[in-house]
């Protein structure tokens, strides 16, 4: 029925867009966004060389993953949003089943079960859920009249809540909160009424003590350490003290590429993965960080602009949610490493070493380009 609305409201839409169609639109890719992602990935590899202790192998392996990520992006961009919307409930259902399976049969490390081992490879169902949850919620809300009613909000929250709780059970508090956020963003962009938002915030505030109760010991420890890292400088507080030292000692101009003493002399833990931002801060200084943040702003700005250009309800909700979730990753990572937020295992998008994160993020941007480039084709 929405299709008809569109036909009536925008009878000339097709012509208008067709005129602007260039070579790029056949690829269903956004040139600017690709350029920004490419730039950021290159910057990431440049830093990774230093952060990995000048190990070319690391850089090459990561470059291959980034390449694979771009392939995934290009493939997903070709899918029509309608296809995505049609598959979303099924993939979501499969994802929930897999999450249950992880809890029952999964393999893990450090007291958490996150992986499903299949012959040949292992994967984290939570990663799939990161992509599919916003699609699912958007798919659900796009078929309703907006702003959503209380009932629709409640069902959406249920859709968000199930995987969130399952992932929390793994336990992986950081990921579960990020996934919940990606779903909640859809709700927020759908025009949910402000008094619902206020009410939800009040409920969340009241639920915080409850959250503390269900946390595992190591998670509580992280929070305590965050509140007072100096209480255990050689143990739990080590990471955060060392990362703050690395950042602070970088100053405005940094110690120079490959010359960061904190990172090169192994004082900084996880320097090539979650804490890589500290390497940038130490070696390239506030200037280097600012350049990186500008790149992120460009990507987010371009992404949000693209979202506003999507006329399809499902598409624009998905697009905005993906972009904002991307920002949350950036913010949580930098906030955590600089001591603003407790330590949660969130990599810095496109810079941290690791394959899963890159591929998932690229897939997200593939979906973004899909809904953007297919904006008028959904009408057909």
């Amino acid at each position: 029925m929405n299709n008809r609305d569109f036909e009536r409201s925008l009878p000339e839409a097709g012509h208008h867009l067709r005129r602007k169609k260039g070579w790029w639109s056949y690829t269903h890719l956004d040139a600017w966004m690709l350029f920004f992602l490419f730039l950021l990935s290159a910057f990431g590899l440049f830093v990774l060389y230093s952060a990995s202790g000048q190990d070319v192998d690391y850089v090459l392996r990561q470059a291959v993953r980034i390449g694979a990520g771009f392939v995934v992006l290009i493939i997903l961009a070709q899918f029509t949003p309608r296809l995505l919307a049609r598959w979303a409930p099924w993939v979501y259902a499969a994802g929930v089943v897999l999450l249950v399976a992880v809890i029952l049969f999964g393999v893990g490390a450090k007291g958490a079960q996150r992986w499903i081992a299949l012959p040949g490879f292992r994967f984290q169902p939570a990663e799939v859920m990161k992509l599919i949850l916003p699609l699912m919620v958007a798919c659900y809300l796009a078929g309703r009249s907006l702003p959503p009613s209380f009932k629709h909000c409640f069902i959406s929250l249920l859709l968000i809540g199930v995987p969130t709780v399952l992932i929390m059970k793994q336990p992986d508090l950081g990921t579960s909160l990020l996934i919940a956020a990606s779903g909640v963003f859809v709700l927020l962009f759908s025009g949910i009424r402000w008094h619902y938002i206020m009410g939800a915030l009040a409920v969340a505030g009241a639920a915080l003590p409850g959250l503390w109760m269900v946390m595992k010991d190591y998670q509580r420890q992280r929070v305590l350490t965050f509140l007072d890292p100096e209480s255990d400088p050689l143990g739990a507080g080590w990471n955060i003290i060392q990362s703050k030292t690395a950042i602070g000692s970088g100053g405005i101009w940094g110690k120079g590429w490959l010359s960061g003493t904190q990172s090169q002399l192994d004082f900084l833990p996880e320097s090539h993965t979650d804490f890589i931002i500290a390497v940038i801060a130490e070696e390239l200084g506030l200037i280097g960080i600012s350049i990186l943040l500008v790149m992120y702003i460009l990507i987010i700005g371009r992404g949000l602009w693209m979202a506003t250009r999507v006329s399809d309800c499902f598409g624009k909700l998905v697009a905005a949610s993906i972009v904002l979730t991307f920002f949350v990753y950036v913010f949580v990572n930098i906030g955590m490493v600089s001591g603003l937020l407790p330590v949660v295992g969130v990599p810095l998008p496109f810079v941290s070493y690791g394959g899963t994160s890159v591929v998932t993020l690229m897939a997200g941007f593939g979906i973004l380009m899909s809904v953007y480039s297919h904006k008028q084709m959904t009408l057909r």
Partner: protein, 639 residues
């Protein structure tokens, strides 16, 4: 109708969406602003603090231990050197809880005994500083070092460290003369300057090594190093070189020392020889000795208890700590006291029937010679060591002149410069007896003192010192081991300079006699002891190429009851008399003064005097009596 509403809703929906996207972007910018603010705070506002923390992380100030000074004998023979040695150490902070597994890993790679582990754990408890490595095993072989190097990466916190370890090439020959160094302990570190000793693992424990510790130790150096998070040094940023310790040259004549030691082999004995011109100690032997090298890196319990429990007391430095009744060797000083205090003249004559009594029919004080020496004056009394003459003059002068003169010869006090373990012995006097025994001085005490028995106790070093003062006719030279500090001047020549020694021990003033001619009177009598027709030590004087002034002594170990006679055959060896001899030569221009004590050796003239003669022959004539002996007996001449 509903469609219209939906249409209206739709455009409303779109406006809401765009509004919220713009709002979201604003929040994004705001939060990025927060991040930038946070980074600005860390990197600009707090820059100094974090830069300092980062430097503290990576830069460590490491002490560089100075090289310990070497010790040479009077001719420049090296007596104490430093040898490179490699040990495997563990850094506790790095190993953490895996200590036991690391140790067992190490045991798989190189040989480490249970004893080593036990000692290591003990050392770990006594660790002095954080981030100080603790040695597990010393003296690694090349092969062991290579094996460890291969496995280095698997063993964080394990290091092979090079160290210079003190080595005494002549082992037990010199241990009582020089002492030794050992691993520094907490108490010593607290007493020493902790900064100076920051990198030092060894400290002088005994003897010369202890006394000249500040000079031998040198001055600590420092290096600024960059370390990684595991404490491994990546590079040296800055370095202040340590100042090596000073090289010392002793008066000890290694050849004489070794000959003397060989002469005393198998005996519990001591010989101290002094150069009267300088006070330099030419030889200081106490047998049996022990190998000081055992103590350097820490002696095993088994080895230590063997040394400690040996009935011959090898750890006991008889030369400076052995307190013996000097017996008749003290008679020249007592005779000098008697004549110079004008109690009697040298011509004073006494009839010696073989005993002396204070009152008619009272307790008999025996002469060593049954039947006595008949009519004796001072000269004869010294030559034949007549006790009765000394009883008589001892009784006449009383304790005070004797104590006074004996004190002026250095008895009852430590006069040596650089022998930190030296004991003062006991010089009895009225006050001493009142203070320590709360008893008055009896005339019988004076009789005992006059022949060097009773309360009087002296060390071999004190006797040799007295011989030196006699040889010098009263002129005091302080007994000392240190000849000087070896230094190379600008022209490359070796120079020897006596250093200033803070709080150097004082020594008595020169002995000034009222009648200086009595020096020669006494020395003539001492010469007669060796060269006189009836001298007690005439056997060693017969073929001597130079004139020896000497005095024998035989000190009783157990009290002999009234009217009982000493019979060596009936007594256990450990109750046999101590044999003593005190001498200097040549008598007119003395070049060596010495004292000999052989515990339970028997007669001073028969046992101790020949030893003295051999030592003097070795020094004055260059004869090595032990070499002949060795060749004759056909055993291996070289050690």
């Amino acid at each position: 109708m509903s469609r219209f509403e939906q249409l209206k809703d739709h455009s409303q929906e779109n406006r809401t969406f765009v509004f919220r996207v713009v709002l979201a972007f604003c929040i994004v910018l705001l939060l990025i602003g927060v991040l930038l603010g946070r980074l600005y705070y860390l990197q600009v506002v707090q820059y100094d603090r974090y830069a300092a923390m980062s430097d503290n992380n990576r830069i460590q100030l490491q002490p560089v231990a100075p090289t310990r000074g070497l010790i040479y004998d009077t001719h420049g023979v090296l007596l104490a050197e430093n040898r490179p040695s490699y040990s495997v150490t563990i850094l506790k902070e790095e190993v953490g809880k895996q200590l036991d597994s690391t140790l067992s890993e190490l045991q798989k790679i190189i040989e480490i005994s249970g004893k080593d582990i036990e000692q290591f754990k003990k050392r770990l408890k006594l660790r002095r500083r954080p981030y100080e490595t603790v040695p597990v095993r010393f003296r690694l072989t090349e092969e062991e070092i290579a094996k460890l190097a291969v496995n280095y990466h698997r063993l964080p916190g394990v290091q092979v460290e090079a160290d210079l370890i003190r080595h005494y090439p002549y082992g037990e020959s010199l241990v009582h003369a020089m002492g030794y160094v050992g691993r520094i302990n907490i108490k010593e570190l607290q007493q020493a300057d902790p900064k100076e000793y920051a990198g030092t693992n060894y400290i002088g424990k005994l003897g010369i090594e202890k006394f000249y510790e500040p000079m031998l130790h040198g001055s600590v150096g420092m290096q600024k190093v960059e370390t990684n998070a595991r404490g491994r040094v990546m590079r040296v940023l800055e370095r202040t070189d340590p100042v090596p310790g000073q090289n010392l040259q002793l008066y000890i004549d290694l050849r004489l020392q070794q000959i003397t030691e060989k002469l005393l082999q198998g005996e519990k004995a001591s010989i101290v020889a002094i150069d009267p011109a300088t006070g330099g100690i030419l030889a200081l032997v106490s047998t049996p000795g022990y190998d000081p090298n055992l103590f350097v890196t820490g002696i095993s319990t088994a080895n230590y208890s063997a040394l400690r429990d040996s009935p011959d007391l090898p750890l006991f430095n008889r030369a400076v700590r052995g307190r013996y009744p000097p017996g008749s060797t003290i008679k020249p000083v007592n005779a000098l006291a008697a004549i110079d205090s004008e109690t009697v003249l040298p011509t004073h004559t006494v009839w010696d029937p073989g005993f002396y009594t204070l009152t008619r029919g009272g307790r008999r004080y025996h002469d060593w010679k049954r039947g006595g020496h008949g009519k004796v004056n001072m000269h004869l009394a010294l030559e034949q060591s007549c006790d009765v003459w000394f009883y008589d003059v001892g009784y006449r002068m009383g304790v005070d002149p004797m104590s006074d003169y004996l004190g002026r010869f250095g008895f009852g006090q430590v006069t040596s410069l650089d022998l930190p373990e030296a004991l003062a012995g006991i010089l009895p006097s009225r006050e001493w007896k009142r203070k320590t025994r709360n008893l008055p001085w009896y005339p019988g005490d004076s009789l005992n003192l006059s022949i060097g028995q009773g309360f009087f106790l002296t060390t071999p070093l004190q006797l040799a010192t007295a011989a030196t003062v006699l040889a010098n006719r009263g002129k005091w030279v302080q007994p000392k081991l240190l000849k000087g500090v070896r230094d190379v001047d600008e022209d490359g020549f070796l120079r020897l300079a006596m250093p200033d020694i803070p709080n150097a021990r004082p020594y008595p003033e020169d002995v000034k006699l009222k009648h200086p001619k009595y020096w020669e009177t006494i020395i003539e009598s001492m010469v007669a002891v060796v060269h006189g027709e009836r001298g007690t030590a005439r056997r060693i004087g017969k073929d001597a190429a130079y004139k020896i002034a000497g005095k024998s002594g035989t000190a009783q170990v157990i009290g002999i009851k009234q009217d009982e006679r000493y019979d060596a055959d009936k007594l256990d060896k450990r109750f046999h008399d101590h044999a003593l001899f005190l001498a200097f030569a040549p008598a007119d221009k003395p070049r060596i003064a010495l004292a000999v004590i052989v515990e339970n050796g028997g007669g001073g003239s028969s046992v101790a005097a020949p030893l003295a003669r051999q030592v003097m022959d070795a020094y004055l004539l260059g004869i090595d009596p032990t070499a002949d002996k060795v060749v004759a007996s056909g055993t291996d001449a070289h050690e």
